[in-house]
């Protein structure tokens, strides 16, 4: 495949002092908002050393999604590098790497072409260099295992012997990608980089960083969202061995709660500085604080959900196709159901923490962040720093799931380092971590369908009411935002369709989560479709396939089309793999859901057993996935396994409740997570094709939730319309 390059000046080859070929880049993704830079600055992406080792920069933060392996794999593939002689180097934050964040399942989507283009350009340069040096025609040369090989004669030259020549060759105007059938790295299960370090405790997470003269810190935040501090007494805390200082953190002095759209500032509280983490954890418990909660709404979850329910009848229309009222009048049957999903925390395994050395007008940060750009912006706003006064390291992260899209904890750490004049490692306790999260929005959702006499849907109304991420915390002045989008499923599939949004204001801090909106909305949509199947006395998969209709491209919005065939393919595959059409013993049941997310198509079947008390045991999960080309099957499968587990955990146990304006839960005893014995085998099959790879971090999660709820119905006849499931179980 040949592509004419619009811009080839994004890449530059130089020879370093040590004689290595250094390929610098200034990347620009295809994101529409991006401007072409006026001046190109270069940072290394590839380095070919004189000893034949190839270093590849991993540009995005590694949060456990495997991106530190996957992006270099793509680069190495097009380059023709020998993976066994590749060193992967984690990048610091650097704007020339572009879109250097982890979220929305975007990393592969945004970087696939970039990595291929950069790798292929360098390969072409090396081939040209070899052609000159070997005096052979370009067409007869290929790159393989870090060599340029002349297939006919078997002659070859290793990359490192071409460094000088390559650095003098002009960059190609056309880039030619390798054909997929010649892939040697992409499509293979490659064990993740750093595996040996992970299994021996040798990875340095941000929480492990230790700097000379460093002090430790922890914080006690006002548990009430948006509260302040009236006064505090710290005599007892100061008596704890190893305590160095107690510092009040008041965001009013630092631009309030919101310093930039994606950079919420810290919550008001008191910090303890000490010579060890334990000293700070011990002392923080001895603080006596009088909190100022005068500005809190003092909310309780029950009351919040009453407001959500009320708001179902006071909505704005987010999408309107045809006429749902007309459909209602002509329907053979009108049917509706109301679903409820709770607020959810992230509870990343590595709690919020950050290490900052902010001295001499230079701020160096070791941040477990999914969003270094927001972190830089926050630091610039908070302290009036210029980008060149900030350095952000991106260590491996103990889980993100959307929590680390926000950088509040890093703001804390930076202020503490500035105030103490020392490097500070701030560690939040798990309790602070759970109580000061950016929760997945809870919501109430009503779906009403009008069915014709064949039972097919002719009208669909989906009303969602909640407090939205977009107006949460200090962002109330902005547009209301919505948690139901015009492109949500089943837009385009029903002639008369209406999406409505009822907006409620709340103090509860809301934010991203893994598949944030889909994780909530899929529960309502796919449980409702299951209900419709049973009303029509049809098999849920048969009904779903009829609902989808024939294989075709369904226009959804703008030029976004939904390829029905790809969804049908995964549905049929999972039907077969899960033995869907075989009978199960009494008390057991199967549930199904299938969706598109982040460009990928996923169908899941959950098989469960129940005991006489209704207690659920998940026996197995089957998933069929079409995410286009699978870059790294081992890593991709891990994302599916992880997404499914997270969906199942959320469905079974996930719930954050609020009392008097503060989060009730605080640790893993009351914010439960599934244990190993509850996790069944997960059987994943990827559909093989040559379509460009799409996102995989999020899409496996949403279908697991309705699939489990539907399995419970199949097993027990009990409809779960309100999560979590654990609240429905008899003890």
């Amino acid at each position: 495949m040949k592509n004419t390059l619009k811009r080839r000046n994004f890449i530059k080859l130089t020879v370093s002092a040590s004689g290595a070929l250094v390929i610098g880049v200034h990347l620009q993704s295809c994101m529409p908002k991006k401007k072409i830079p006026e001046v190109y600055e270069f940072s290394p992406l590839i380095k070919i050393d004189t000893d034949g080792w190839v270093s590849l920069i991993a540009k995005n933060p590694e949060i456990g999604q495997g991106i530190k392996t996957a992006l270099p794999m793509i680069l190495a593939e097009e380059l023709g590098a020998n993976w066994n002689k590749v060193k992967v180097v984690q990048a610091d934050y650097n704007k020339v790497y572009d879109e250097q964040w982890a979220g929305g399942s975007y990393a592969i989507i945004l970087n696939w072409d970039l990595m291929r283009t950069a790798g292929a350009m360098v390969r072409q340069v090396l081939v040209r260099a070899a052609s000159q040096k070997m005096n052979l025609p370009i067409e007869e040369l290929t790159a393989k295992n870090s060599n340029i090989v002349h297939v006919k004669s078997g002659d070859s030259l290793p990359f490192e012997k071409l460094i000088v020549e390559a650095s003098q060759i002009p960059l190609p105007e056309e880039v030619e990608f390798k054909s997929m059938d010649s892939f040697e790295i992409v499509g293979k299960s490659i064990p993740q980089v750093d595996l040996d370090k992970v299994v021996s405790g040798g990875v340095e997470y941000a929480i492990d960083v230790k700097l000379p003269e460093m002090v430790y810190a922890t914080v006690l935040k006002n548990p009430v969202f948006e509260g302040g501090i009236t006064s505090y007494e710290d005599n007892e805390a100061r008596l704890v061995n190893g305590v160095v200082d107690i510092i009040e953190l008041n965001n009013a002095a630092y631009g309030g709660r919101l310093i930039a759209p994606n950079s919420p500032n810290f919550v008001n509280g008191i910090a303890v500085i000490g010579k060890s983490t334990w000293a700070t954890f011990k002392a923080v418990k001895k603080l006596k604080v009088v909190w100022d909660n005068s500005s809190s709404r003092k909310e309780n979850t029950d009351e919040i959900f009453v407001r959500f329910h009320d708001q179902l009848s006071n909505t704005s229309i987010e999408r309107k196709d045809g006429d749902i009222k007309k459909a209602k009048r002509s329907a053979a049957l009108n049917y509706e159901a109301v679903y409820e999903v709770p607020f959810l925390a992230h509870a990343t395994m590595e709690p919020m923490n950050c290490t900052v050395d902010f001295r001499d007008d230079f701020c160096e940060v070791w941040a477990p962040t999914q969003n270094p750009e927001a972190l830089q912006e926050g630091l610039m706003k908070l302290f009036g720093l210029k980008p060149e006064q900030i350095k952000i390291h991106l260590p491996r992260i103990g889980g993100g799931f959307g929590r680390r899209y926000y950088v509040d904890y890093a703001m804390d750490a930076a202020i503490l380092s500035q105030k103490t004049g020392k490097p500070v490692k701030l560690t939040w306790t798990r309790e602070e971590d759970i109580r000061h999260d950016w929760y997945r929005p809870g919501s109430v959702q009503k779906i009403a369908a009008s069915l014709d006499k064949e039972g097919m849907v002719i009208g669909w109304q989906h009303i969602l009411a909640n407090a939205s991420r977009k107006t949460s915390l200090g962002r109330e002045g902005g547009p209301a935002g919505t948690e139901i989008d015009e492109y949500d499923f089943p837009a385009g599939f029903v002639p008369n369709l209406q999406f409505e949004y009822g907006h409620v204001l709340s103090d509860v801090p809301l934010g991203q989560w893994r598949a944030v909106a889909a994780s909530a909305n899929a529960f309502a949509v796919h449980c409702f479709l299951d209900e419709l199947a049973f009303i029509n006395k049809m098999d849920p998969i048969d009904y779903f396939l009829e609902f989808l209709g024939p294989k075709r491209m369904v226009p959804v919005v703008g030029d976004y089309e939904f390829d029905v065939e790809r969804l049908i393919t995964v549905v049929e595959k999972v039907r077969q793999n899960s033995n869907w059409d075989t009978a199960l013993p009494k008390g057991q049941g199967r549930g199904f859901a299938a969706r598109k997310g982040a460009g990928s198509f996923i169908a899941e079947v959950v098989t469960i057993d129940t005991d006489e008390n209704g207690k659920v045991k998940i026996l197995r999960v089957d998933a069929a996935v079409d995410c286009g080309i699978v870059v790294n099957p081992s890593g991709a499968k891990a994302q599916v396994e992880g997404g499914i587990l997270e969906g199942l955990c959320a469905a079974l146990y996930g719930e954050i409740t609020v009392k008097d304006g503060a989060t009730v839960q605080s640790n893993f005893h009351d914010y439960q997570w599934m244990r190993m014995g509850e996790m069944p085998e997960i059987n994943v099959e990827f559909i093989k094709n040559e379509l460009p790879p799409r996102g995989l971090g999020e899409p496996p999660l949403p279908p697991a939730i309705p699939a489990l709820a539907n399995a419970i119905y199949a097993a027990t006849g009990k409809r779960i319309r309100k999560l979590p499931i654990v609240n429905h179980l008899v003890d």
Partner: protein, 154 residues
């Protein structure tokens, strides 16, 4: 502050800390053994698991004053060269995702196999029930323990 001598990965270490300091923080902050992780501090998640007197214990709830009697094995001391059967199996099956829980998982798994080198699936689930994996690596961990066990059996 009192001073304590403990044995960690077969080396004696002396530290000056309060008697109630959990072993976890001695390992991490005093001895620089950061492979042992903090995640809950309440014995709920297993991230801080180390081996002590042949058992998998939660170092976040074990005060140093109660850890003086025997050698403590942390993830750093599990093997010199990542060649403990559980580490080998973990790498073969590409188990970790974020990796943060994995030190604790590996220590629990190694402890289980040291007592029972051919555990059933139920025994594995029971022995590992104190270790949370937020990312969902449970199925791979289970397989890796079975793989390690099959290697030990030979």
């Amino acid at each position: 502050m009192p001073s304590y001598t403990i044995r960690v990965n077969n080396a004696e270490k002396t530290v000056s800390v309060d008697a109630d300091t959990p072993l976890l923080w001695v390992l991490r902050d005093e001895l620089g053994l950061t492979g042992t992780k903090y995640a809950c501090g309440k014995g709920l998640c297993g991230s801080c698991t180390v081996q002590y007197k042949g058992n998998a214990i939660r170092s976040c709830t074990l005060p140093i004053s109660s850890a003086l009697e025997a050698n403590i094995t942390t993830i750093e001391g599990l093997s010199p060269d990542q060649n403990h059967p559980v580490q080998q199996a973990w790498m073969e099956l590409d188990v970790p995702q974020c990796g943060y829980c994995q030190s604790g998982q590996l220590i629990s798994a190694a402890t289980l196999l040291s007592k029972n080198n051919n555990p059933t699936e139920d025994e594995i689930n029971a022995a590992m029930s104190g270790n949370i994996c937020r990312c969902g690596t449970y199925t791979r961990i289970r397989k890796a323990i079975q793989l390690a066990s099959s290697k030990l059996d030979k």
